[in-house]
């Protein structure tokens, strides 16, 4: 895989999207969601993807996260062309390489904070105790160690999102993808989440690709990319 990345001359980039086209079919109609996207995100970069609704931001994010496949083109993330992997291999790849942060947190309501964070580690060979220790460390990083036994409904929106971030980083992935991580939060909580993401980027050197509508959130990123009607705008 490393060879493949080198061949296209982007060895330093963690995310490399080349000539990606994504087309959906509805009845006989062909809907082009992404058209000829080229995007390179170097390691340790914090990129904000912006654009109006329906511009294809989330689709592009899903392709980078390996939960969707391009119709054509290649998506190389952490030295792997995810478009070529089978479903099973893709799932395994996701569990090691990508942390996903959702807009609505999507914590499992029947699990405590620490259990939610430990969920991705269930796929690892770690023992229950090791999983718990790692999850607590992740919760400590996001400042919620004292809430480890709380259920999602006992947490505020901002706290829930921080637990979700802890879940995203617990496997120590190379790339974090976030889909409107502050979209459901008040200004103060949004600020805290953005600070946390900045910390993860600066101190833990995580490559972050974040979809957002919020210009203030986008300003925290190193660079901003704009999508419109499935095309990445220059500049």
């Amino acid at each position: 895989m490393a060879t493949m990345a080198t061949e296209i001359g982007t060895a330093a980039a963690t995310v490399n999207v080349q000539n990606v086209r994504k087309v959906y079919h509805r009845d006989s109609q062909e809907i082009v969601v992404l058209d000829g996207i080229n995007l390179s995100v170097p390691q340790g970069e914090f990129v904000a993807l912006m654009g109006p609704s329906g511009s294809g931001k989330t689709t592009l994010l899903n392709l980078i996260a390996g939960i969707d496949r391009p119709t054509s083109g290649s998506v190389i993330v952490a030295d792997t062309n995810v478009a070529t992997l089978s479903e099973g291999a893709l799932a395994k790849w996701r569990s090691h390489n990508v942390g996903f942060i959702f807009q609505f947190y999507n914590l499992i309501p029947v699990l405590t904070a620490v259990e939610n964070v430990a969920l991705p580690l269930m796929l690892s060979p770690l023992s229950g105790k090791q999983r718990r220790e790692r999850a607590l460390t992740a919760l400590k990083i996001v400042g919620l160690a004292d809430r480890s036994q709380h259920y999602p409904k006992q947490l505020s929106g901002g706290q829930e999102q921080r637990v979700a971030i802890a879940r995203a980083i617990v496997t120590d992935p190379k790339v974090l993808v976030a889909d409107e991580p502050t979209g459901d939060l008040d200004a103060k909580s949004a600020e805290e989440i953005l600070n946390l993401m900045q910390t993860l980027n600066q101190e833990f050197k995580k490559t972050i690709v974040m979809v957002t509508h919020d210009p203030r959130a986008a300003q925290r990123a190193h660079s901003q990319k704009h999508l419109e009607k499935g095309v990445l705008l220059k500049g």
């Binding site: 939960i67 996701r94 996903f100 959702f102 999507n106 029947v110 796929l123």
Partner: protein, 393 residues
């Protein structure tokens, strides 16, 4: 195993729905086990039927007696080895307490016991029984149940008008018979046998024979001998019907219709209903958790594992329902003979109790229903695409 707590936590999420599904499953398994136990009890004594034994009864019905004179004529039929009268006595220790039912019959001891090698009784006890005019032998289970010992004098009063003589019959326990369950499966150890002669004398020599039990030399001749016996009495007032012992017992059972078919039909209908109920529960549970399924898949849970978790939940529902159902069934089967009305109907079944086989079968059915009901929602979870699920959030 590490996913078990995860599955259990999900089941606890909507505990009302989970417990009602478990109870529905439990009722299904309870009915299944209870019905299977009855089917087994009803057909149980067919196992002990011997192909070389015939039974001659009144052609009209069992409640009509046969003349005593028939015995010698049957005995004279070529191929017949020996004959014994068997009359149902219908005795109770306390006529007002019919919950203490056990089969008790008047027989001709020498010939009858010679026909039934499955009743294992020490020779001295057998001889004592032959000698004692008021003697009786009882099966091990009845002796244990009533704490009867050899030498005890016991009293029984019959509910059959012909045998009611104004006072109870007195018997002396001369022997306790046992059996070899491997060699002679299905042998009833709850019976009591006493001398027909005692019954005959005590009732003023008025009674006739209930049935004749016949041993023949060659089981292959059963059909021909039966025909010959019945033809002997074709033109008499008391025409006979002779059949093999197993046919007699099966016929006895079929007096209440094709019970096995009926009970199995009920069991299948109940199982099908519970299958739909459980499938509906699992579908609702999966539908409610589309987001969570999307999250699990996003985190890297393979589709097969997600399917396994849903099936696991369904399996746990089945196992819980099965356990509760088997316990309920086991308790109810023990309690039924003591209940009014229904107790009278079921008390006649010997060895009524849930066997390991029926319990195991009940659990297997519960697990099968669980897995089967969870299969469709689990496969939907397997096939669901993450992007489609996330789009619905």
């Amino acid at each position: 195993m590490k996913y078990v707590p995860f599955i259990l936590k999900h089941l606890r999420r909507n505990w009302i729905r989970t417990s009602s599904t478990v109870m529905a499953m439990a009722v299904c398994i309870f009915l299944f086990c209870t019905l299977q136990t009855f089917i087994k009890a009803v057909t149980w004594n067919l196992q002990s039927a011997n192909a070389s034994r015939l039974v001659t009864r009144h052609n009209v019905g069992l409640i009509f007696p046969l003349p005593l004179a028939y015995e010698a004529r049957i005995e004279a039929v070529p191929g017949v080895k020996r004959v014994s009268i068997l009359s149902w006595f219908g005795g109770y220790r306390d006529i007002n307490k019919r919950t203490e039912f056990f089969p008790n019959m008047a027989v001709e001891p020498e010939t009858y016991l010679a026909m039934y090698p499955e009743y294992l009784i020490p020779e001295d006890q057998k001889q004592a029984f032959f000698r004692d005019a008021r003697g009786c032998i009882v099966g091990r289970d009845t002796a244990k149940n009533f704490h009867w010992k050899i030498g005890d004098t016991v009293q029984l009063e019959s509910f059959i008008p012909t045998y009611r003589i104004g006072k109870p019959f007195e018997f002396v326990v001369d022997g306790v018979y046992d059996s070899d369950p491997v060699r002679y499966p299905g042998t009833d150890l709850t019976q009591m046998f006493f001398k027909y002669k005692y019954l005959y004398e005590a009732t003023g020599r008025q009674v006739q024979a209930g049935t004749y039990t016949i041993e023949i030399n060659d089981p292959n001749q059963a059909g021909a001998i039966s025909k010959t016996i019945d033809s002997l009495f074709e033109n008499s007032d008391a025409q006979t019907h002779t059949e093999t012992e197993s046919a007699f017992r099966a016929g006895f059972t079929s007096m209440i219709g094709n019970l096995t078919l009926l009970l199995n039909g009920i069991a299948i209908a109940v199982m099908f209903t519970i299958l739909l109920v459980t499938a509906n529960t699992m579908s609702m549970a999966v539908r409610e958790r589309r987001t969570e399924i999307a999250v699990l898949k996003t985190l890297g849970f393979p589709s097969g594992l997600v399917m396994g978790l849903v099936l696991g939940e369904s399996l746990v529902l089945g196992a819980l329902g099965g356990t509760v159902g088997i316990l309920l069934g086991s308790f109810m089967i023990k309690a039924l003979p003591h209940l009014p009305f229904i107790g009278d109907a079921v008390r006649g079944f010997p060895n009524l109790g849930m066997s390991f086989f029926v319990g195991g079968l009940g659990m297997a059915v519960a697990l099968f229903l669980g897995v089967f009901a969870g299969f469709v929602p689990a496969s939907l979870a397997y096939r669901a695409r993450v992007t489609e699920l996330l789009r619905q959030i």
